[in-house]
């Protein structure tokens, strides 16, 4: 059987199995087993077993449950509520201030935690009712929360970035730090957009008529809520940037910091600690079982010569590198609308990275582009995770159609973000290049 035929079978089988609604972990694992037994030899199944052992002892992947646990503890600690109150006091008197403040808080939360759900749920519960009470346009309010919530994918620490770095075999620390600049650019794009909307359509984010700014003393007092998050961010990002600790060690310290934050707020109960750990185990088991399946799938794909024939195909195409890059990114954006993002990374990175190397592009820079396409996947229907979180907190008067329309401009802004990142590879990788070792 020719390698092209095997290639077609692997992609075709994947699509077919996926459509049955079988969990992705078993789609990948099952298909790998099937192909191994049918087209290779049965003894090669041992490769899959070795892949499992290999995944189990990965120090880098161990960071995933730690960052998830940290987020789970923080979202139960009351720290985020305090941050939100402070933001309301400071931004409440600006037109569109609550939306801008939501972006700012999402950036802070993104720098504290590595997951997207925590920010979207928290802002959906805190900022959304207040924005709607002030008669903000529901589309602007929900779109802002969904889009800003996904900043956690770029801004370190980030679970998805770790998965990318492990799969692409680049430095996890460098990849994490590389997310800062594009994350800030995207956040600025969102804030700029909100300001323009408020200027063009004052009705989209009206100021309350009875608004009285809080006294300065109260506003300054509210800033104390920034101390703990600030320390946590400094601790984690600082230790990664200066190479003091590995991302996994930094994550363990982050968990301790989150526990301390919860304890200070007197929210560190046995129930909170247990339910945080339950959430963590659920999310981690889901991610790591997919990882096992995907590793097996990719091992078979490479072993049967799929990667080589794909490279040969691209060599024979004879088109410019940026055309190929754009096609790869379009594939990612498309996959993001129909497939789970962890699965996308694990499946496509091993296929794309050899192409990226062949074209002479920087893998860290490509990782940044990846992360932005994943953000697009996170807010686009029908499979965008933020939409599910948003659905959970949406008031009864609103329906998902408003949310879908609300995210559209932010989806375009993320597209603009990709174009900016594509045009400025030097800027995107400036921080990782400044890092020690």
């Amino acid at each position: 059987m020719s390698s092209t035929a095997i290639l077609l079978m692997m992609f075709g089988g994947l699509t077919l199995f996926m459509l049955t609604g079988l969990p992705i972990a078993f789609v990948l694992g099952g298909l790998s087993l099937l192909i191994t037994v049918l087209f290779w030899n049965a003894q090669a199944v041992i490769i899959l077993v070795l892949q499992i052992f290999d995944t189990m002892k990965s120090e880098a992947l161990l960071a995933i449950p730690l960052y998830i646990l940290m987020a789970a503890l923080l979202s139960r600690s009351g720290v985020i509520e305090k941050l939100y109150r402070a933001m309301e006091l400071w931004f409440g008197r600006v037109r569109g201030g609550l939306a801008i403040g939501t972006v700012v808080i999402c950036v802070i939360m993104a720098a504290m935690t590595g997951v997207v759900g925590a920010a979207v749920t928290a802002m959906g519960m805190l900022a959304l009712p207040e924005m709607l009470r002030r008669r903000y346009s529901p589309g602007l309010a929900t779109g802002t929360i969904c889009a800003a919530g996904t900043l956690g994918i770029l801004i370190p620490p980030s679970v998805l970035t770790i998965v990318y770095a492990v799969t692409a075999q680049v430095s996890i620390g460098k990849m994490l730090i590389a997310g800062i600049v594009p994350g800030m650019i995207l956040a600025s794009l969102y804030i700029g957009y909100i300001l323009i909307v408020c200027w063009l359509k004052p009705d989209a984010a009206p100021l309350p008529k009875d608004f009285e700014p809080a006294p300065l003393r109260q506003r300054l007092a509210a800033l104390t809520s920034l101390i703990l998050p600030g320390l946590l961010i400094l601790l984690i990002l600082g230790s990664i940037f200066f190479g003091i600790a590995t991302p996994t060690e930094a994550a363990a310290v982050g968990v301790a910091g989150a526990a301390v934050a919860a304890a200070i707020e007197r929210k560190l109960t046995f129930d909170a600690a247990f339910s945080a750990a339950v959430d963590t185990a659920r999310a981690t088991a889901m991610i790591l079982w997919i990882t096992i399946g995907a590793k097996a799938y990719v091992a078979i794909f490479t072993g049967l010569g799929g990667a080589d024939s794909l490279l040969n195909l691209i060599r024979s195409l004879d088109v410019g590198p940026y055309v190929i890059l754009t096609v790869m990114l379009l594939i990612l954006v498309f996959l993001g609308t129909v497939l789970d993002e962890i699965g996308i990374i694990l499946l496509t990175v091993p296929v794309f990275i050899p192409i990226v190397k062949f074209l002479g592009f920087d893998e860290i820079w490509f990782g940044v582009l990846y992360a932005i396409t994943i953000q697009m996947g996170y807010i686009s229907p029908p499979f965008g995770y933020t939409l599910f979180y948003m659905k959970g907190v949406l008031p009864s008067g609103l329906h998902m159609g408003i949310v879908y329309r609300g995210i559209a401009p932010f989806f375009l802004l993320q597209g603009a973000g990709i174009i900016i990142a594509m045009m400025t590879p030097g800027l995107m990788t400036i921080l990782p290049r400044l890092m020690i070792n």
Binding site: T20, L62, P65, W289, G343
Partner: protein, 172 residues
């Protein structure tokens, strides 16, 4: 469903719930181990030889043993674009086809992973690091998790077959 099968299904689910809870608590063993290592390394300047290694050895059993019960909670993501368009009857048929696929996957992988776990135990395999702990127990988590996943898939299959959605053990 016949009573003995019902008892079997809830027994399997109970065992997997227990395994899940052990995994849940394991994270609170992993974190302190790492913290001790970090403190010793950066504060006392004498890193432990066992800290990071012990944490990574616990990591495998942690996510593997949590997996089967997460399937019961429907926590393993799937692409449900097509499935959401099906009616109840068609959806049930898909489920009756899918669950045996999981059973077969676990069975085949079990067939190949069990010998290497048994070998590891018989030879008293160690990690050959500076600390050099025995590692058969972490390898044994693979066949164990596969058995548990196989049983849970079988239990879910029986539930769908007899139209018993049995929510008694659904809450984590």
């Amino acid at each position: 469903m016949p009573r003995f099968l019902g008892a079997l299904v809830s027994a399997i689910t109970t065992v997997n719930k227990a395994a899940f809870h052990i995994a849940v608590l394991l994270i609170y063993a992993i974190v302190p181990v790492l913290l001790i290592d970090v403190v010793m390394r950066y504060a006392a300047n004498s890193p432990t030889i066992w800290g990071m290694e012990l944490a990574t050895l616990l990591f495998g059993p942690y996510f593997l043993l949590a997996g089967p019960y997460v399937m019961h909670l429907k926590g393993h993501v799937a692409m449900d674009l097509l499935r959401r368009k099906l009616n109840v009857k068609q959806d049930r048929i898909m489920e009756l086809v899918n669950l045996p696929v999981i059973i077969a996957f676990c069975g085949i992988l079990l067939w190949y992973s069990l010998p290497s776990a048994i070998d590891s135990f018989n030879y008293g395999e160690t990690s050959f690091s500076a600390w050099n702990p025995p590692i058969w127990w972490t390898k044994a988590a693979v066949p164990l998790a596969l058995v548990l996943m196989l049983l849970q898939a079988f239990a879910e299959f029986l539930r769908v077959l007899f139209r018993d959605q049995g929510g008694e053990a659904a809450a984590p």
